[in-house]
Amino acid sequence: MSQFLFILMAILIGGAVIAIAITSYLAEQRRAEELIKISIDLGLNYHPGTNSDIIDELEFLNILQNGDNRYAKNIFGGIYRDQEILFFDFHYETYTTDNKGNRSTHHYWHHIALLRFPAFFPELTIGPENILTRLGKAFGYPSIDFESHEFSKTFLVQSEDKKFAYDICNARAMEYLLSHRDFHIEIERDRYALIFDGRTDPQSVVQKLDYLIELRALIPDYLFTAAS
């Protein structure tokens, strides 16, 4: 009797695992189809597979230095609203070992929208403040404050070049960022990157590329004439 129960349990568990695998495979297929459709609609190139060359090429961006086994997936590239863009899912993993010596792997996903500037700029990062960063600031962790108290309270802005940070975080950009708080910004060399948590939701690709273009439009023209 107990043997029968054991076999029944094994069948049920095995069935459930297979069902989950099939469902996620189908969901992944549907997602890939949606992404292909979006790339066609937007006139962008699309590569559904993994690619680590992009990560190597852009490794100067802090986010792409995290963890191991780093790769890009679902890569869009091309010209969108007159800007050279790149959009992809970014994966990395970290490892922890418990006191019994068992190693666990933790997978992390972000999706990143990037554009290329016609000039090179100093490094600048803008991200939401949290308890740790606020505590750090109280103990002298470097950050740049602006005339908008609300903006300074909401975002942690870091750059070696304070003047550049002021140029980027101008009044209109601060207003824009205060109404769009779900991403980090990284500027370095000739790249402007918006970093979102999790994998790409196909429905939000256009919206996120639009964020990128709108933020690019808020950068004063004189920065490009000065930098070129």
Partner: protein
Amino acid sequence: MEILLLILVVIIVFPLIYLILQYNGFVSLRNQIAEAWSNIDTELKRRYELIPNLVNTVKGYATHEREVLEHVVQLRNSCMANTGSPAEQIEGENQLTGALKQLLAVAENYPNLKADASYLQLQNELVNTEDRIQAARRFYNGNVRDYRVKFESFPTNLIASTFHFAPEEFLTIDSVVREVPEVKF
């Protein structure tokens, strides 16, 4: 002995390190303000260089606007000669900005002038320079704000007064040239 040493560290060494850090912080902020002012100064000089060409171009088309043109030239010359404090200099610069706005508004009434390629280029350069001046002033004020926060907060205000750090003034940010006013004749 060890306790005595610990007390000595707490009473003398830590406060001394704090004092040095805060003093250097004041010096650094004061230098940042000076650097920010030199940014503004560079942009103002760029504007001075643009004005003669702009005035000459406008003069070629708008011969009846001598008063406006002379006013701009006069203000430019007095601004160039002004070597007062940043706050004093900015007052004159704000007047010059007002005169330039008026000049651009007058130019709106001369279609041939508006179509002139060199005028358009000068106008673009002027607007671009104005944007830089505004950004540089904002950066200056940002540095002054950081300095004043430190200057007025406790206990750093004690260090400021002990070492005679002087208070710094904000610059008044005037409207920009690109906002051309309506002029009625």
